[in-house]
């Protein structure tokens, strides 16, 4: 048999409590394959706090510290500090939170950790709403989307918060987006983050079939089309916020195709879809312009 495409070690096992086709579990499986056993997870309230299993069991074969909704980053900082006090400078500490716990309620704690440049990896698995409590809108929910708190009569009108820009403003050494549809890329980014000292922020698109009203088998499909339709650009920000690298080497696909099987967008009318698609394109152009602009400033990326 050919060599395995990704590491074969399984630190996330079967029997967990996620729904069928859950992107968040795929994200965890890949991340742990990249990071290995010398890792501690800090998980606030979110789906993953449940997915992991029931006390005294855990689907994940490394320590998890469960913490309060708003405290993922700072708890991870604390765990890291504690380990260092005991002379352990090796173990990677990972805060693993949902988009609600990151974009909204955990933002303050994350900002503090990032400002101090504490040596942790902060992962936001982004399923674009508060899924664990029944699909409420978060500031990560994309414009046009239905949630239980943004019903179709009053769907979400505000754009998704640009969390990557917020993190870039903290001048931390590494920021990346990833998608569960691209395992090799995701694993590469986690390995890279592990090797860097300071605060690393990785935002992983993790489709939620339940909350997106998407047939579970299309979970990876959606994670792929989000990228190829430019809705969810794959990028890395290095040099303390000064260098932006955007992945462009893909066959572009349409926004309409991406949203079509997702029930959360089903109410959108043709003209609304077009309007949102325009917004997607202009965000993409702005991103490319930013990449060029940063590259054009001499000495910035050294």
């Amino acid at each position: 048999m050919r060599e395995a495409r990704i590491p074969t070690e399984e630190l996330m096992g079967s029997g967990h409590l996620a729904c069928q086709g859950c992107g968040a579990t795929i994200a965890m499986r890949f991340a742990l394959k990249a990071l290995g056993r010398e890792t501690i997870l800090v998980i606030p309230a979110c789906c993953w706090a449940v997915i992991d299993g029931t006390f005294p069991h855990s689907a994940v074969d490394i320590p998890i510290f469960h913490t309060a909704f708003e405290t993922a980053a700072v708890t991870a900082s604390g765990v890291k500090a504690g380990l260092e006090m005991r002379g352990d400078f090796e173990t990677t500490v990972v805060a693993w939170a949902g988009d609600g716990g990151t974009f909204d309620i955990g933002l303050q704690a994350l900002s503090g950790t990032a400002e101090r440049n504490d040596d942790i990896i902060y992962v936001c698995y982004d399923n674009e709403a508060y899924m664990n409590t029944g699909i409420q809108r978060s500031s990560s929910t994309p414009v046009g989307s239905w949630t239980t708190t943004t019903p179709v009569t009053n769907y979400k009108k505000r754009p998704k918060k640009n969390m990557v820009d917020i993190m870039a403003a903290h001048a931390i050494p590494y920021i990346a987006t990833a998608s569960v549809a691209y395992p090799e890329d995701l694993i590469r980014k986690f390995k890279k983050a592990k090797a860097i000292k300071g605060t690393k922020y990785i935002q992983v698109l993790a489709p939620c079939p339940t909350g997106w009203k998407l047939s579970p088998e299309l979970s990876i499909w959606a994670a792929r089309k989000a990228v190829t339709s430019k809705v969810y650009p794959m990028l890395e920000i290095t040099e303390n916020g000064n260098k932006l690298t955007v992945w462009k080497d893909f066959e572009p696909t349409s926004f309409k195709e991406y949203i079509k099987p997702q029930g959360r967008f089903r109410h959108l009318k043709e003209n609304e879809i077009e309007e949102i698609a325009k917004g997607v394109e202009s965000s993409w152009q702005r991103l490319l312009a930013r990449e060029k602009m940063l590259a054009s400033i001499p000495g910035l990326d050294t």
Binding site: G13, G53, P56, W221
Partner: protein, 559 residues
């Protein structure tokens, strides 16, 4: 699997909540209502190949650089890939799924490269099986006869191969010109077949004349007839026997045996099949100005499309919708031909539109030489009345070439009428396998399942468009000045480039996708396969959706 942990009292509990075991007690397989199963299909190319070559499989072996195993895979169904790789009309490629995406995989060129490797590595041919007592007579050494002889001899049965000509090969030898299939290649192909087991050759022996069919029937345990179509059909018009009019087959035979023919005359070839193309292009190479006259249009020509294209490029002229009406001879020698103009009418039983004469419209051409190539027919003299015939061909009852006579089998053009090399090869093998099964008292294998498979079964997100890799070739200028082989084989680099385009339709090629994406870590990756752990598979079907090639199927639970 872990146990569910029960605490009898709070004293048994750890002082702070902590994990004591994994979640394997929680058999999430019970959530499932549909079930993914590994289920390889038969790739369409395999169904498209009359010989049923396991194309998908040998292409994967080539990707792994297992060239010997790839060659062995072809040899299981076709003993002459170096020949078919050059002259086959490749219906496999017509079925190739990739054709509905960008361009069909160049299966034919891959086959030819492997065929040549086999010729360069005679050691790859395995020893024939232990010698058996039973023996078989094979009549005719065209592709059908050679194929039958090969599979019988490989199985350890001694074969006596009867051939009326001096050299073996049938149409491969005296029909197809050297610029398509060089004699030196054919010699090696035949040598490899003759060396594969106990085959003795009786050349220049016409069955029916030099030895009777009855004698063979009596002294052998079985007989295979693969005598092909030896005679040219006549035009049936006045002066057909005058000097200057010749059957295309006779001409090709002479060209192929190295006769140095003059040919600067104005030449006309009547017909639209492979024979017409070979005659026209051979005459062109001998210096003639050549026009092919065909009674329908190019779209209806039965010749292999690329042959027509090459003939055009080389400068063969075409005159469509015309048929010879009368040959004008002067002093017993051909001088002119009067042609009837035609138009296309209603489709005939072959589905092609029937040519009908345009009343009163004729034209005359000065012609130095006229070749007829309107079809070949059988010479059944040595076989009737013993063998039943139908439409001047041998009548067979089953799919293995069973004739009315118990131990006599037939296959190739003599059964199908003018067909193709690969069909003859298939018929020879099928008859040989049937004969062996009769010898050892084995039942026929079940028929291959015909699965529907198309581009909709391919997850095209995993592929990028690319052009078919073409065989390198000599220029048209170089080609038309001689009989040098036009198309050259793939080197390893071109071969690897082209095999990489194969989708591996319906057959797992260990791409890992299903295992990689399973959200429940329910797929176990083994050395030579994957296994789904149904205790935990939740039936999300991500694996099925993300399989690039539909090598997984869905089953409903509880059915």
């Amino acid at each position: 699997m872990s146990k569910q942990i029960k605490f009898e009292s709070y004293r048994e509990m750890p002082i702070r909540p902590m994990t004591l075991d994994n979640m394997l007690w929680n058999e999430t397989g019970s959530w499932r209502n549909v079930k993914p199963v590994y289920d390889n299909k038969v790739s369409p190319c395999i169904l498209g190949c009359p010989a049923g070559e396991n194309i998908q499989h040998y292409i994967q072996l080539v990707i792994d650089k297992k060239y010997k195993e790839a060659w062995e895979t072809i040899i299981e169904s076709n003993p002459m890939p170096a020949a078919t790789g050059r002259v086959c009309s490749h219906p496999c490629m017509g079925k190739c799924t990739r054709g509905d995406y960008d361009e069909a995989v160049n299966i034919n060129a891959i086959e030819s490269a492997l065929g040549d490797m086999g010729l360069d590595n005679p050691g790859w041919m395995r020893e024939s099986e232990k010698a058996k007592k039973k023996k078989v007579a094979v009549i005719g050494s065209g592709p059908a006869g050679l194929s039958a002889a090969f599979y019988l001899a490989r199985g350890g049965y001694s074969v006596t191969l009867y051939e009326s000509e001096k050299a073996l090969g049938g149409v491969l030898r005296w029909g197809i010109p050297e610029y398509r299939l060089p004699n030196c290649v054919l010699d090696r192909v035949i040598e490899s077949i003759l060396n594969s087991g106990p085959i003795s050759v009786k050349a220049e022996t016409v069955v029916g004349k030099d030895i009777k069919l009855k004698e063979l029937e009596d002294s052998f345990d079985a007989v295979f007839i693969g005598v092909g179509l030896m005679e040219s059909r006549k035009l049936g018009i006045p002066n057909e026997d005058c000097e200057g009019v010749e059957s295309g087959l006779e001409y090709l035979k002479r060209v192929n045996s190295g006769d140095n023919l003059d040919s600067s005359k104005k030449t006309v070839v009547i017909g639209g099949g492979n024979t017409a193309m070979d005659v026209a292009r051979s005459a062109l190479r001998k210096g003639s100005d050549v026009t092919v006259v065909y009674r329908r249009t190019q779209a209806e020509m039965p010749a292999i499309a690329s042959e027509i294209e090459e003939a055009e490029k080389e400068g063969v002229n075409f005159r469509f919708l015309a048929a010879p009406k009368e040959i004008v001879a002067e002093g017993g020698k051909l001088s002119k031909v009067i042609f009837q103009e035609m138009e296309l009418g209603e489709p005939d039983e072959s589905g092609r539109r029937r040519p009908v004469p345009l009343e009163g419209k004729t034209f005359t051409m000065e012609v130095g030489r006229l070749f007829t190539a309107i079809g070949e027919k059988a010479d059944l003299d040595g076989f009737v009345p013993e063998i039943d015939t139908e439409w001047d061909l041998i009548k067979v009852s089953g799919e293995f070439g069973e004739t009315n006579s118990k131990n006599i089998f037939a296959g190739g053009d003599i059964v199908t009428g003018a067909a193709s090399v690969v069909e003859a090869v298939a018929a020879g093998r099928k008859a040989a396998e049937k004969i062996i099964r009769i010898f050892i008292g084995e039942a026929d294998p079940p028929k291959q399942e015909e699965t529907e498979f198309g581009i909709e079964n391919i997850n095209v997100d995993y592929f990028t468009k690319s052009n078919r890799t073409l065989k390198p070739r000599i220029s048209v200028e170089e080609a038309k000045n001689g009989f040098e082989e036009i198309f050259r084989g793939f080197d390893e680099q071109l071969l690897q480039k082209e095999v990489d385009r194969c989708f591996s339709c319906g057959v797992c090629n260990y791409c890992d996708n299903c295992w990689v994406y399973c959200p429940d870590a329910a797929i176990v990756r083994k050395d030579d396969r994957y296994e789904i752990d149904y205790d935990y598979c939740k039936g999300c079907l991500v694996c099925v959706e993300e399989c690039p090639r539909s090598a997984l199927s869905i089953e409903e639970e509880g059915k």
